[in-house]
Amino acid sequence: MELLTNLVNVLASDPTGMVYIGIGLMAIALAGSGVMEGAICMKTVESMARNPEMYSKLRTSMIIGCALTETTAIYALVIAILMLFVG
């Protein structure tokens, strides 16, 4: 408990450190994005193995899906950069 109080005191004395903690916390968003991109790839490979004649169409859909899924991580990146340079 005393440690926590000390930590709060330290952070309160220099609040700019909180900004960097927030920037680091933005990396949590990468976890979900990474997991679901892996899921997209897994399902696409499964489908490709089931009917290989759809290979090129599935690849196109996979790339578009990955780019859409990346969006969440990219929002996190934009927020982190805004916090770093603007906030």
Partner: protein, 279 residues
Amino acid sequence: MNSVVLDSIFDGFLSFEFDDWFVPEIFSSLIVILIIIVLSFVIHFMFKDSYKDPLQEQKGFKMVIAMGVEKVENFVVELMGENNRNFAGLASALFIYVFLAFIFGLTGLAAPMTYFGVCLSLGLITLFMIHITAVRNQKMKYFKRYVDPIFVFLPINIITTFTPALSLALRLFGNALGGFCIMGIVYFGLENVSSAIFNNLGLFVGNYWANAGGFFVSGAEGPAGIFVAPLVAPVLHLYFDLFSGAIQTLVFVTLTMIQILQEFPEDESTSLNTVSQNL
């Protein structure tokens, strides 16, 4: 913290000074637009004799252009149905501009996509197209969406109106800025590595070389810092500029077309079900 930001936004808000309004990213965006205008005039005059006989076979550069136009038209028809073929004009314009603006950073000038205003104006184009299409197709029923369940939801609905533009703009901006930042870090590191290697060889001892380095090296590392980066950076440029640019262009145009398509009446053959099958 906030007051500094607000001050920097509203400071010089009404003063028309050159430094405030001249943004290098917008200047390179204008260069891209100039390139596209010149290219379209050139292509127009190249194809002038082909307009009388559209079925004749093209060769060389003209064949590439014809194939590109056909690809974009097929893309739009596959996505939106046969009776929306006219949107191929918008799609090809967006394709060319977004892709060229994305890879324009390769020239060494400022990359237009790393300035949020450029991305936001692209998003606003989509937003205007969505609402113009909605007004044309739904007439007075268009205004029903702002009071959708009941009248109380009006402010929320007005805010929701702008989300497509913001989402598209932030997607482009984040991708370009991410690549830009990573390339900046890579160049910084490689410059240090190179100067650590080549400064110890004693090749650049004299004052002349030490001063001349400032002209063609971005950092203050001198001429010894330029030898490693050309070996490593092109592969990363291939991914972060060309590949990422192509994918994001495709995603941008696809999302634009799908969001415009949502405003058409449901009963036609161009419903979202056929889209998700064709995608």
